[in-house]
Each structure stands twice: as C-alpha cells, then as structure tokens.
Symmetry: C2
Subunit: 357 residues, 2 copies
Amino acid sequence: MHISELETPALVVDLDIMERNLSRVAGYAREHHLRLRPHTKTHKVPALGKRQLGLGAVGLTVAKTTEAEVMLDAEPADLLVAYPVMGAQKLDRLRRVAKRTQVTVALDSAEAARALSAAGVDVRVLVEVDLGLGRTGVAPGDVAALVQEVVALPHLDWDGLMFYPGHIKGMTGEDEARLARLRRDLHDVLLTLTALRLVPRVVSGGSTPLLFHSHTIEGMNEIRPGTYIFNDLNTAAMGACGLEDCAATIIATVVSRREGHMIIDGGSKTFSSDRLATGGADFGQIVGMPGAVFHKMNEEHGYVDIRECKNAPAVGERVQVLPNHICVAVNLHERIYGVRQGTVEESWTVAGRGKLQ
Amino acid sequence: MHISELETPALVVDLDIMERNLSRVAGYAREHHLRLRPHTKTHKVPALGKRQLGLGAVGLTVAKTTEAEVMLDAEPADLLVAYPVMGAQKLDRLRRVAKRTQVTVALDSAEAARALSAAGVDVRVLVEVDLGLGRTGVAPGDVAALVQEVVALPHLDWDGLMFYPGHIKGMTGEDEARLARLRRDLHDVLLTLTALRLVPRVVSGGSTPLLFHSHTIEGMNEIRPGTYIFNDLNTAAMGACGLEDCAATIIATVVSRREGHMIIDGGSKTFSSDRLATGGADFGQIVGMPGAVFHKMNEEHGYVDIRECKNAPAVGERVQVLPNHICVAVNLHERIYGVRQGTVEESWTVAGRGKLQ
C-alpha cells in the first residue's frame, strides 16, 4: 500500500530514519560501555521493543505495571518499571509479570519498599534519587538510608540507583550548570554508599535530550532513552537530533479552507495539546510548507495559518505534520504505519495505548 | 465494589450528578421546543448515547465516521457526522453506517458535497456556516450558493444549516457582542435562503457553554451540546454550570512526597495537557484540598504544590481530581466507572476511544 492510500489522520514512521536512530544509540551505548534499557512508553509496541533488544538493549523500561504486562510480548530478559508501584492490584500484576521475566522496580519511599516486600514479590530494586528535576526520587542525602531499608527487607534485591535528568533539556549555559551539579551530587551519593559498602550494580540515568552526553557522567552505567526511536520537534529543539532524524509524522487531510487559513482533520485527540518543551506556541510543523503555522487546535480540528505560505494545499489534499511530542501522540493512535520510500511495509497496533495503571 | 477499591488512575462518574445533568438539558430542550442531538465525543460510550436518546434526544452527533460506526450500538434513529467527510475509506464507511440508520453529514465545501454525491451515499446534508468561530463553515454570504449546489446534487437531501458557536465561552461583555453578531448573521442567512425558497428544516447550533441561552437565538431549532453530560472545570469557568454539576473526576494515588510537594500517578496521558479554555496555568482541581495547585505534568506524573494545603495526603493515599477538559481526558481512558454514593454501580468501555478517522 502506498502512503497516500492511508486513511487520515495516520501516524506514520519512516523506517529508514527509525532504524538509523536505533542503530546510532545502540552503537553509542556499546562504544561507551553503557547498558541500554530503552523506555518503551514512546512506542508502546512489543515488536519495536524486540527490535531494541535485538540491537543489544539489556532490557526494557516501562512506566506502569499494565505497560509491563503488554511489553512481555517483546520477551525482554529484564523489565524495569521506572515508577513507584502502589496498591494491591498493581502488586498482584507485578507478581504475575515477575513470574515471566526478571523485574526491576524503581522506588523512592520506605512506604513503597515495605509494601513491595510485604506483597512477597521477588524483584530487583533501584532506589530513585532526585538529581535536580524535583519530581520523584529521594534527596541525595537520603539515598543511603533508603538503600539500607531496602537491603534489609525480604524479597527485595537492591540493584542500584536510578535518576531522570529531565530538567536538562539542552546544552545552554544553564543546562551546563545543572549537569555539573548533577555530576557532583551523583559523585557524592556514590562516595557515601561506597563508604557504607553499598555498591550499586546499576546506576541508571539518561534521557533522550542528554543522550549523547551520557558518557560524561561518571558513575552512570545505564541509559533509558525513550524518544530517540522516533525523535520529535522537542528533541530537535533541544539540539539532541536534527529535523532529518525525526521518523514519526502524522498525515492529515485539509477538510476546510478559507483565505489565509486551513483546517486539518486532527487536533488535540490526534496530536495531544502539548506545547514545545522549550517554549513556542505552535502544535507541530507542517513538513515542506514553510510559513504555515499550526497555531490552534480543538479536539478534531487543527487550525493552520497559511498567509505566509506559497504552496498551500486545497480541500481534500494532504499534509504531513511533525508533532511536538511523539510519546503523547502515539498514545492517541490505534496503529503506527511503518513506511519506506512511500510504501507501507508494516504496521503495529499500539498495544500499550491507554495502559495507565 | 467501593470506589476506594478501584485501581488508579481511574475515571469515575458520579451517577446522580450525571443523571441530573442529562435531565436538566433534556427538560430545557423540551421546554423550548429545541431538538436535542447530543455530541457523543465527550463520552464515546454507546450505552450513554442510548440514555440520551431515552431522554428525548432526536439523534446523536459524532465527529468522525469511525465514531459513527461505534455509536450505531446506541441505535440512534439519526446520526449526525458533524464534520466534513473526505476520502474513499470514510465514504465507504459512511455508506455502511447509512445502511443501518439515517445519516446526516455537515459540510462546508462544494468539494465535500460533490465527493459525497459521487460516492452515491444517500444522506441528509447540513451546510455548515461560520458564525464567528473561524473554524469550519462557509461565510454567511456564501451559504446560499452552497445550499443550491447541494440541492442540485443527486443522493444528497439538503436538511438545513449547522454552526458551532465555540467562540462564545461565557457571558462577558465581549461574548454578548459576539452573540448579538451571531444572531444578526443567522437572521440574514435565513432571510436570504427564504427569499430563494430554500427553507431549512434543521438549524443546528448550541454548544455546552451557550446551552441555556439557546432559546434566545431566533431561527435555531436544534442544539448539539456534548460536555453537559459530565461537565468539567472549563464548563464551570465559563459559567455554564457550577462545580457541583461536574460529574466526572479522576482518582489518583500519591506516589511520592517531599516538603511542600507531591506527585500523583497521572499526567498528560491521564488528564491531557489541555489548559483551562478561559486561561489559567493549572491542570485540574484537587477536590477537597483547597490550596493544592496541580501546576505541572509529565506523561505519567502530576506535580502538586501543597505548601498552602493543610490536609495533604501521605504516599499511597488518594486524591480526586476535577479535570480541565473532560472530552480529551475520557479519550485517554479504557473505562469509565459509574459511582453512586461511593459504590461502583456500572462501568463502560470507552468504545470510541482513539477513533480518529
């Protein structure tokens, strides 16, 4: 099937670009002796998780226990749930998943550690430390105490540390300072733990924006990038890839036109209403239409200003839109279409779509 | 099952409030002799469409042809696709749907009308007119020409006009002026059509924010509110309902805490990243926790500032969040749980979730 025969809106992935992205990061991790445990929340497709494993990933990462269940189909040797697991049903689900593969859980509280241990689930545990993002994770000074608590609890096998450097979005002066601070804090934590004879096997960090700086963070031996498989405008805006490295776009149809303006058949239920993480008011970039501004959306309508655009399409014609944030866009689609040079070669159900628990 | 046993994040609907919302609007429509054709994009659940029909709705509204397919299960006597239908697959789907019920399609271009006619689908047609929103719809002065085109085309049965007053969000001075302008434009369109002996059977308008002003718009005889079944912070902020009329909330668990701050287990993949339509930086309101500010989100993390909050919950405890925009939130969930006085009475699969085509 040719790409032009796909019904719109359609989420398509350029397979050449995707494969280059996957190989580049796998090569980088290999070169720098970094474990690669990709975050699958970006694609939510077991077949793509399997490709990442085939290229040398040591395991896969998920955010929720229902995602873990779905990602078992990729047959990972190890599955990291990078999120505190709370509540009876989630612990039950984790137990079922742990029967089928090695499970690692990240946590940042004694409450979570005790509940996990009490549930009798045999898992590895990474203690999450906050190295500047201010989200989950204990403060650097509190890591040792929580590690000691985990080490003492039955069923839990303490495996190391996890952090997410989501506050470092590029390599501006401010980000350089944040990264320096992160290096210092991590160094201090590792010194403290070593003094207590608590030596982490895994120190897991690494976002997509910071990806190719990972080897400069001493003590970190694992990365968990997610977005890198597709990349998006956010990744490009942060300088972690070029626009030519963005594999995923959404094909939309122009359903209405007036002077200087057109409406496409996708809005917040197709792209999500995420703005660019680095700032900016647009909802995506229309490929090959310089001057077109995707300035507003409703649920099923995208508003594109075409006053500065020379080759605007007519009603019924199509556009290709590069989304701001591919992870939330994928979660809105039932299928992803893999395209090579205009031909749809394969397609995948987004099996983890809407898996929130 | 008690509501506290639901796994989080969970989308719950207070059945008493929902039923009151449904009855109130059904009663208003009856009282003012307005046809009610509710937009089902808010709930995407056939069983709820059926309830709306049971309360006197003349038909149901959908945005996409795939939604129409799903909503056939509600057995509507009439299904309005309030969106231009473009492309061969969509026309095929429309044909299949039209075999099972009366289908009405809204359109705003000769291109869409000709394609529909050429496909040989027997449908009723509403010509969409733009009465100020600047989205889809022909300009008031161009309505007559498009109606004449539709009337002349085989298979199309011209039924009237449709507009969406989404630019009128409340009843501020500015909105009053917009509404006055809308009334004037509609009046002019109807005069022009009447002079041409083109008398619309249906003049369909009516959003949730403008709902209870509908009887003041002369010439309009149908309303298509969607959000009113649940309502949300947007509806309340626009003054179209009170907070006590908001039926749908999302139950979330506190997964991490630090001084003055907590993280809940839902972010943009649970609530959507929609801001309040009337402005404001929050992502929802934490029920019963005055002072708590839901100020930031990532995909699976909600950041809540609790510095000004006296009764903040501990790790593992739950909060109830009133979302900004319920239509996009529902589209992210697999199920909706109907709750009465703390007990889960029923639950529905969001069958139309992700139906974008």
